[in-house]
């Protein structure tokens, strides 16, 4: 066992917007330059780079990881691209963690980029080809359809109402009003969500996060290096990831077992026995409002079917007992797939350092979690950080 402690010492983030003029390379450069500035480092101090980016179809570039290398600072520094669909953003720092924890590198720049807007007529078209070419594509199924199936199943099994789920969208969009990079911060009501355009029943327009462009980056360092740059490192103390079968029709969609398995892996490493008590807050993956509830349960932050009650009672508010998505989440900040996941890890870092500004949670926080999700309802990625 040669595991070394790994610290986060800087993070950066671009605006999240529907159509940014910058190229993917430029977005990667901007985010990584901000992370270096925050860490007090220069490019030559970075020994390795991990890039996270999701479907190549968004940017319309084959071998997108290689395309982004120049922007991410990877020329001359060994670079790897990691890929677990929508879970990629949280998986990026997990890949960065093993670069440093292994002892092969002392520093690692993690960059996540997504530029969804180049895909015409709509980014959703990239998802037509995520389905099995023989069994599923002939059905004409879309990503929104299967989310609708999962949401319906979740509501049915636990007796949860659409209005209870809508509270998540209301909370997260309100939180995002305090995020300077957010795309869709807004003060809305449950009624607004219920009256928004029906896309695929029961999923409505305001239940869904938007397509976005954007990038995030963070700098990881070994303990020795971290202490040379900062008195306030934030430690990565748990990582976990899990990918379930691609045959999503073969399991009960009411509960994300793969998220639980990823969480158990991370909790074991971080010696977390009771996540509800041992953690102070969480950035939970919320591409849809019901997914926040679904994932809280998979992470064992709520009993099965119990997340809606916690939300209704205000526990998950920024000033609540257990804040969930104080950043505003994907529903409020935006959803440039891989960058959105890394945004969550950045938010945990900023919260733990007390640098979240108007978004800073009220209670003292020493330990937080970020979680990603992806592929065909099958990926869980979990990382825990502590001061």
């Amino acid at each position: 066992m040669t595991r070394r402690r790994v610290a986060v010492i800087g993070a950066g983030m671009t605006l999240f917007r529907r159509r940014l003029l910058e190229t993917g390379r430029e977005l990667s450069y901007e985010a990584s330059a901000m992370a270096l500035d925050a860490a007090g480092m220069e490019r030559r101090d970075v020994e390795s780079v991990v890039i996270g980016t999701a479907p190549d179809a968004f940017d319309g570039v084959h071998m997108k990881g290689d395309y982004l290398i120049e922007g991410a600072g990877g020329i001359g520094a060994p670079t790897s691209r990691v890929y677990v669909g929508g879970g990629t953003g949280v998986f990026g720092p997990i890949g960065g963690w093993w670069h440093v924890a292994s002892g092969l590198f002392d520093t690692c720049m993690v960059v996540a980029e997504e530029k969804m807007s180049p895909l015409h007529p709509h980014p959703q078209y990239a998802f037509w080809s995520i389905f099995d070419h023989t069994l599923e594509r002939p059905l004409g199924v879309t990503l929104l359809w299967i989310f609708a199936l999962e949401m319906r199943r979740y509501m049915h099994v636990y007796g949860i109402k659409e209005e209870e789920i809508a509270l998540v969208a209301v909370k997260n969009k309100l939180n995002a009003l305090d995020h300077p990079c957010a795309q869709l911060g807004a003060k809305i009501t449950v009624d607004d969500v219920m009256k928004s355009e029906m896309i695929v029943s029961p999923v409505k327009r305001l239940d869904v996060s938007p397509p976005s462009d954007g990038a995030c980056a963070m700098v990881l360092a070994s303990e020795d290096v971290a202490r040379r740059y900062t008195d306030d490192p934030v430690w990565i103390d748990g990582v976990g990831w899990n990918v379930d079968t691609q045959y999503w029709t073969n399991r009960d969609l009411c509960y994300p077992e793969y998220v639980e398995r990823a969480a158990r892996m991370a909790y074991k490493m971080a010696r977390i026995e009771d996540p509800r008590k041992d953690l102070d807050f969480a950035e939970v993956y919320d591409p849809f409002d019901y997914k926040e509830l679904h994932h809280m349960e998979g992470l064992m932050l709520a009993d099965r079917g119990g997340a809606a009650k916690m939300t209704r009672e205000g526990v998950t508010q920024r000033d609540g007992d257990f804040p969930i998505n104080p950043s505003g989440g994907l529903l409020g900040v935006g959803n440039p797939i891989a960058a959105a996941g890394l945004m969550k890890v950045c938010e945990v870092f900023w919260q733990l350092r007390g640098e979240a500004g108007k978004r800073q949670v009220k209670k003292e926080v020493n330990r937080g979690l970020a979680q990603g999700w992806g592929d065909l309802l099958q990926v869980g990625t979990v990382i825990t950080l502590r001061r």
Binding site: D56, A77, T79, Y83, S102, Q246, D375, L376
Partner: protein, 396 residues
Amino acid sequence: MLRGSQPYLSCGHSARQMRRPAVGIVGVGAAGFKPALPEISTRELMFEAAALAYRDAGIDPRKEVDSFVTTSEDLWEGWSITDEMVPDQIGGAGRPVCTIPGDGITVLGNAVMQIESGVAQVVVLEAHSKASDVLDKEAVENLAQEPSLMRPLGMGADTLAALEMEAFLRLSGFSVADCDVVVENSRRRAMANPLASFGSKRRRGVSPSSEVISSPLRRADKAQYADAAVVVVLASKAWARKTKAEPVSVDGVAWGSSLPWFDGGHTAYAEYARSSFERAAKQAELKRGLGSLDLIEIDDTYSFKLLQHLVSLSRDKEEASTVLRGQGPALNPSGGSLAVGNLIEASALHRLYEAVLQLRGEGGRRQVKGAKSALVQSWRGVPTATGGVAILSVGA
């Protein structure tokens, strides 16, 4: 701008001190290796290679593997988010699985780091090519070009390769006739490799009738696409000791990217290959450069790239010439990509597979006598300047 200075390794290693990984290869499996395999799917191909590797390692993937690392690219696969379709057929469903879309040596490096970090003891690597399913391969290749400034020029991947070939030959002193020898040797070696589909006993170089794709690049200079899957089982030395496995040791592994030549990078040599070799050699404590090794499997996606890569790994022209004359380490005993085919993401793992067979004395008719150490070098293809190097040994 063509940059041709410093074609050979000229000084000591600049990389910081890195120790040798305590990791070894305990099982390998390969399947396919045909120009087209219409009768089986990608998943079936992966399953076959995985089953062979698990049998070779003597492990149950559902119980004894801690992590699975695969490599594939969306546009070659015809899937968006192609990583989603990998777990079932390799025994990874419900387990830690990830995709590292990249060079096979980069994948090996990440698996080594997972083991060295303590998060896993046994890691499975998988790579495959089902290129025969892709109707328009040139379209996929060309989509790898930078979209705003480069793609509108309308140059195909082979045109870029031809321009690099022209510059390399001019700066290096090698000639088209040297490329002929590379092709001839690869095809001859292929006759002894049951996995190679492109063998030939012809001894008069490249046929004058070989189509010129983009001068000076001819059809014969380019490896033809083929279908295959390769699976490698990697384990910590501690695990290997406990299970009494006899691993092939991974003494050094490094990867990296340099500026592509059209962005101002070198053409006389491949910086990515050189820097990777320097770092891997440092880990492996290689004292005499290529002269320390019994065999080398280096990238020959195009014939001139083999020469360029060899130059990049050599200390001087004499060392490169020695290898080409057959007086140094055995060069590409498998026949390389020109013999076996361009296996896309599986190319690097195929070279690794060949090195493992050779070091275990299982090379059959192409066995390099007494092979104890090997180097594997890889390249991701046009338009990248990305590649890696791994150094392996047995009996240390």
